[in-house]
């Protein structure tokens, strides 16, 4: 694999460029007026689309293929919040609550990073397994539960714990992903064909629009970089690399293809910024959102999108290629 070529290819992909354009818009204070409703509409569309495609392809997967990657995913969902928490407490000297809040984000997964990794793999001709969207849903929940437990063991009585759980489980990303998987699985490839032009052909282009807006949002987070301090900035780059390597490794052990383990690596490396913030805001209101939002959206997401994803593919190639 030509690592440098792949990296350039990624940096010049329309979705990465659109993200950069969005950042530029915020920096120039360009009043593009991207409607929030369009942003929400696009996330519903993207989540449902990957769910549907994943569901259709899930039919080709046997339980024998599925169980090991699923187990690896759940394991990663249990380990990574703990490793993130440990690093934040020991090395970063964060208090218990903020450490748990950030750990919840880094243990969970960003659906958009998953999509970007998927697109990158396909552009390289290294596709991932069709059942991966199911794994995204599996990876999303446990870390948030673990992270909240880490605080709860010492701080009893947070009344809204169950609310936070309900929030994650029924939140848009888990619900639409799993719902899409269910619909796609039941409908099957033939009946899916009629809706494919909308959900498959339009997908990459819709992603460009979405990343344009996400770039604007991420750039707004950059303004807080100074307030989060150098430790969190380093954390936001190094921990994804650590988690990503772990994901690639376990994925490869679990029998995933090169594309599959690279995408799993990207998933594990990513930090949630939809499900986790909502749940954490409810369960740990004392935590400072500046920390977890700036780290996940301002540092880790751009890092993964540009450098991380090619890196995880390169690793997967080394290990499994």
């Amino acid at each position: 694999m030509d690592a440098l070529g792949a990296l350039t290819g990624n940096l010049l992909s329309p979705i990465v460029l659109a993200f950069a354009l969005g950042m530029l818009a915020t920096l120039l204070r360009s009043p593009i007026g991207f409607p929030e409703e369009l942003y929400r509409a696009l996330s519903i569309y993207l989540l449902l689309a990957i769910g549907l495609k994943g569901g259709v392809e899930l039919r080709h997967a046997s339980l024998a293929q599925l169980w090991a990657p699923a187990l690896a995913t759940v394991l990663l969902g249990l380990i990574t919040p703990v490793s993130a928490y440990g690093i934040l407490r020991r090395l970063g000297r964060f208090d218990r609550i903020n450490a748990a809040a950030i750990a919840a984000h880094y243990g969970s997964v960003s659906a958009v990073t998953f999509i970007a990794a998927q697109s990158f793999g396909r552009s390289l001709g290294v596709p991932e397994e069709g059942f991966m969207p199911t794994l995204v849903a599996l990876l999303e929940v446990p870390a948030i539960v673990v992270a909240l437990l880490l605080v709860r063991m010492r701080t009893p009585g947070a009344a809204s714990w169950s609310e936070a759980l309900h929030e994650v489980l029924t939140g848009p990303s888990v619900f639409l992903l799993l719902g899409g998987v269910g619909v796609g699985y039941l409908a099957g490839p033939e009946r899916f064909a009629a809706v494919a032009p909308f959900f498959v052909s339009g997908f990459q282009g819709a992603l460009v629009l979405f990343l344009l807006e996400l770039g604007m949002v991420a750039a707004r987070r950059l303004r807080d970089l100074r307030r989060v301090g150098p430790f969190l900035i380093g954390f936001g780059v190094l921990v994804p690399m650590l988690h990503g390597a772990l994901g690639v490794l376990l994925g490869s052990w679990a029998g995933l293809s090169v594309g599959g383990s690279a995408v799993l690596g990207a998933m594990v490396a990513s930090a949630s910024y939809i499900a986790a913030p909502a749940a954490v805001r409810i369960a740990l209101p004392e935590a400072n959102p500046t920390y977890y939002l700036t780290a996940s959206l301002g540092i880790t997401f751009p890092f993964n999108l540009t450098l991380g994803i090619p890196l995880y593919f390169w690793l997967a190639h080394l290990i499994g290629g």
Partner: protein
């Protein structure tokens, strides 16, 4: 002239994540209805979880003075310490106001 009762218009502006909880609290403390508007805003506190979603909610409820007081207390104890919330009360004349008490 149509009879108009004097009541309180209680307005709460809060980050969106609180919407359901605030409405539940309002109902349980005696409000008979509410009107909700999607708004944006800036205040003294920094970021909030919902910030990147871009919106706050404004909840307005016509209530009796007692309900307004009770909700003020609830806000002060359960929301003000950790959340981005602001609340105020205005006396209003309401048509057929008796149905809101």
């Amino acid at each position: 002239m149509v009879s108009a009762v004097e009541l309180k218009l209680l307005t709460i502006v809060a980050e969106r994540v609180l919407e359901e909880r605030l409405i539940r609290d309002l109902r349980s403390l005696g409000a008979r209805g509410y009107t909700k508007t999607e708004v944006t805003g800036e205040g003294s506190r920094g970021v909030r979880a919902s910030e990147w979603e871009g919106k706050n909610v404004k909840i307005e409820a016509i209530v009796s003075p007692e309900v307004a007081d009770r909700m003020f207390e609830r806000l002060a104890e359960a929301y003000f310490p950790h959340f981005a919330v602001i609340a105020y009360v205005i006396p209003v004349h309401v048509v057929r106001g008796d149905k809101y008490i």
